[in-house]
Symmetry: C2
Subunit: 555 residues, 2 copies
């Protein structure tokens, strides 16, 4: 994208046509400002991949123009990509106190804390960013101190909501800045970028307070230990668990690294209030009667290595779920995690626990606004143009339908994919350009080195395994000195398969014989002949297609 | 299990602690009768596996005693294992007309139709099976002609419900045999085996009729083509789609092999009524105006190769989803399929279709009874003992709680795992024995040959790929003649990885040098040294652990 003076451009590098790895960009002339830099967890099609982050090629090509990264809040899908981003592009990072606290944990793990420039802001901050100025409004969500962002640009105001719901009875009195939002809308908004996570859900998302009521009831009823599993970052939820435990004269144990980390930071920063002496370790807890103990733990998404999964199989040595204990799953499974969560519930029941799980228990409310709240945001902001963000296509589509119901014209709404650019000039908007965008895959220390070839091979290997065919030939006459030897992994196994491998070895030998004397330059023909003849034979015999890897040594 | 005269034994070979591959056995002395022989689809932990069927070792060890396989209905989780079972144990198979029709399709595919002994029964049949007699009662479910089974045994009556709901306004007037059930209960039931699929769901499952109302409304509103995707075996649903289409003067196209198969059989047998001339092929449909066309298709679970998935990406050549068409997903995603279904909805919206999906549309009702219906069955049968079947542990557990609410004593309820046996004698019941049971994995033509070693290797390969290390040594002095050569798949790729592979090659060479002269018997030491040194190096450099496969050729 060449510099286009007098044009305001908005693009996504992540977060649309998907859930996760949010990253949006606003460019005016030579100034680019970024909003969020998230990661997402790979689904099962990304075999062996640890994390997915945005492809930032466009930003690296325009590194001199990038003024800042503004982070709306501290969830992984908004901050998870930051360490990888800062390694390549060290720009100032703006966020509220808790957001920066959570980012710092990540930067520390990556050894980047010293060199990073973190700038703390609050709802009243104003930041000059080249031709643009950013100001903020507070929203509520399932983590404290969430911001929406207003960019004053020469072409008009751009509003980015961040994640939000309208919780009018919030925990901690973190009320949304309704009047400020109304004033922004009144002052005229060129374009609104609003999140779409719950655009498929009718109605109004219930208040977080509701969960507190249900927690208190469950705590009052429980006769033995209570385990509550939830997202560590949901500080409001943690506070409500702490309050319910305190009310019932229980001590509190924290299980799981992220739970310990978040509680420490939130407590230090004053977001979380834990009565003196209430926090104990497992050893102290085990010496108390079970009705005096509550445990807050990670793993509500069924993550196999997290605390809850380990508790459910008795794999946690220092504290156990025992018959009569209560386990509360205070979270909904994110799509794709349902089976892992269900397996944990099964195992907890097998241990004899009373498990409170599922959507009908009131033990969880969403942090995202439903259709009526999305309509409320659109109504408050009354933008000229609208770009639904933060969601898979069907959510963006449903959000568009809501805007149309509110009277917006279809051509004032842009459904963009990652890499699509919407250009605004003189009050008009067009979407006709794209920039590079996509998934950068993190696998171990490798960032972006795993691509389609490796993933395709992993998929092939995962389904039918591999058969290696090794042959040593004389380099002068091509005569076979040793082999073919066939070794397989993940294909067939044990004495029953010996006959099959013997037969395949004969097939390979016959194929090689037919090509004896072929010169070294003909390796590809040789390999091809081996792959085809063995592959055909094995498929006819087993209906499986292992990867066949011929290796020819010439000596 | 030795023959135990005078003892009645009940066991599961599949269907408990899981959803799918239902297979239950009842034994009295030298007579074993089986109920259902299902399959289940592997989850992502079974890499490359096509199908999972019950382990029938116990039956093969007692082949002379197996009298019959009774099949309650024609769903895959009740019939999918039959071809594999009959290949090893050819006993008479009893089922209603539609059930046998669906079994015949499978047997034909496996070339087993001639040798199989299929015996048609109906709700009024009585079958003498050695010391036992089987009789039946009709239930309703999401496929016609479902049976519950009553076994009269010398120890008392055993009732197996099959799958059921209580649909009191069923399509096709297939009313449940309520009065017969009441009479059975009144006559005294020793033990009830009742299905638990919806034991977590409060209330009463809505009638199938409800879906018909919603389908008719949607058909009346649609302006262009209508696609409806549902389970082919849900003949009631198919009929309601056909009726709605006919009412709106639309022809009907069938897409998907199982849809075509089931419609043919159900129509031949009189379960499905399609007006003359209504069924057309895609060519004829494409010549009609879009408002005259309805399409019934497979793929409602998001199966990547089924009709709906292919339609959603434009991969179906002969008929297309176009802007303004309506697509109705008349099914709920089975846990684990949510993401595939969501992807299809995204793609259909991108094509411009109006998509009716999700739980709030009334386009689907479950075929399984909810808590009130499970309580109704327990109340009707008033058994002395109860074995909840057909469900994962949490469902069996919830079903147990329902029975306890109805006044049953905890020790009259047995939660069995596959392989557990409950023995009944003189009105008492004990669970203290097990027989062999488990998953038999089908992979291509291989039945049971893929076990933990192959699956573990596939998982390893899927995550980090493989690195093959080939060396040719002189067999007399162990001197290296050629290699080490390193070839990888699914690990690293492309020019950027050449340096890493070069370094690893040097590491391998150094390791070999240290062991030069080792005799042929020391291959394992050599291989171990290569695996360790290369593995350590690669993990330090990449944080990945590819499978390392050393191959040493001696010439």
């Amino acid at each position: 994208m060449s510099t286009q003076n007098g044009t305001l451009s908005i693009f996504a590098l992540g977060g649309v046509y998907e859930i996760g790895k949010n990253m949006y960009g606003i460019q005016y002339g030579d100034d680019i400002v970024l909003i969020d830099c998230g990661s997402k967890f790979p689904d099962e099609s990304f075999l062996g991949i640890d994390l997915i982050i945005p492809d930032i090629t466009y930003l690296l090509e325009n590194r001199d123009k990038v003024r800042a990264l503004i982070v709306t809040h501290g969830h992984e899908d908004h901050i998870g990509g930051i360490p990888y981003f800062l390694k390549q592009l060290n720009v100032p990072v703006y966020g509220t106190r808790l957001t920066l606290g959570l980012i710092e944990i990540k930067l520390k793990e990556h050894g980047l804390l010293q060199q990073a420039e973190l700038v703390q802001i609050d709802r009243n901050s104003r930041i000059a960013l080249g031709a643009m100025t950013a100001s903020f409004f507070q929203t509520n969500h399932s983590i404290p101190d969430c911001l929406g962002v207003v960019f004053d640009t020469p072409e008009g105001k751009v509003v980015h909501t961040g994640d939000f719901k309208f919780d009018l009875t919030p925990v901690h009195k973190q009320t949304p800045d309704l009047h400020k939002m109304a004033a922004i809308g009144q002052s005229g908004v060129l374009v609104l970028l609003s999140e779409s996570t719950n655009a498929e859900r009718p109605g109004f998302t219930p208040s977080e307070k509701l969960v507190g009521d249900h927690l208190r009831e469950a705590f009052a009823r429980a006769k033995r230990k209570i385990f509550v599993s939830t997202f560590a970052s949901n500080v409001y939820r943690l506070q409500q668990v702490i309050d319910a435990a305190h009310l019932n004269n229980r001590v509190l144990v924290l299980l799981g690294r992220s739970m310990v980390n978040v509680v420490r930071i939130a407590q230090e920063q004053g977001y979380l209030h834990i009565p003196e002496g209430m926090l104990v370790d497992t050893e102290e807890a085990n010496e108390l009667p079970p009705e005096r103990v509550a445990i807050l733990c990670t793993g509500s998404q069924g993550e196999p290595m997290a605390a809850l999964a380990r508790l459910s199989t008795g794999g946690f040595r220092s504290i156990k779920v025992e018959a009569g204990d209560t386990v509360i799953l205070s979270a909904s499974p994110i799509p794709g995690n349902e089976r892992n969560v269900a397996r944990i519930v099964d195992n907890l029941f097998i241990l004899g626990a009373h498990v409170i799980y599922g959507s009908g228990t009131g033990m969880h409310v969403s942090g995202h606004g439903s259709q009526e709240e999305l309509k409320l945001m659109l109504t408050l902001m009354k933008p000229k143009f609208f770009i639904p963000i933060h969601g898979e296509y069907r959510m963006l589509h449903q959000h568009r339908l809501l805007a149309e119901q509110l009277g917006m014209e279809p051509d004032a709404i842009f459904l963009i994919n990652n890499g699509d650019v919407v250009d605004f000039k003189d009050g008009a908007a067009v979407q006709e350009r794209t920039i590079q965008a996509g998934n950068t895959l993190v696998d171990g220390f490798g960032i972006g080195d795993v691509g389609t070839v490796i993933l395709r091979d992993r998929k092939h290997l995962s389904e039918d395994g591999i058969l290696v065919v090794v042959v040593t030939r004389d380099k002068t006459d091509g005569k076979i000195i040793s082999g073919p030897d066939l070794i397989s992994r993940g294909f067939v196994y044990g004495p029953d398969s010996e006959g099959l491998i013997d037969e395949a070895t004969q097939i390979a030998a016959a194929a090689l014989e037919g090509l004896q004397g072929e010169r070294i330059t003909q390796w590809n023909r040789l390999k091809q002949a081996l792959r085809e003849s063995i592959g055909r034979f094995l498929y006819a015999k087993t209906k499986r297609r292992p990867m066949i890897l011929p290796i020819i040594m010439e000596v």
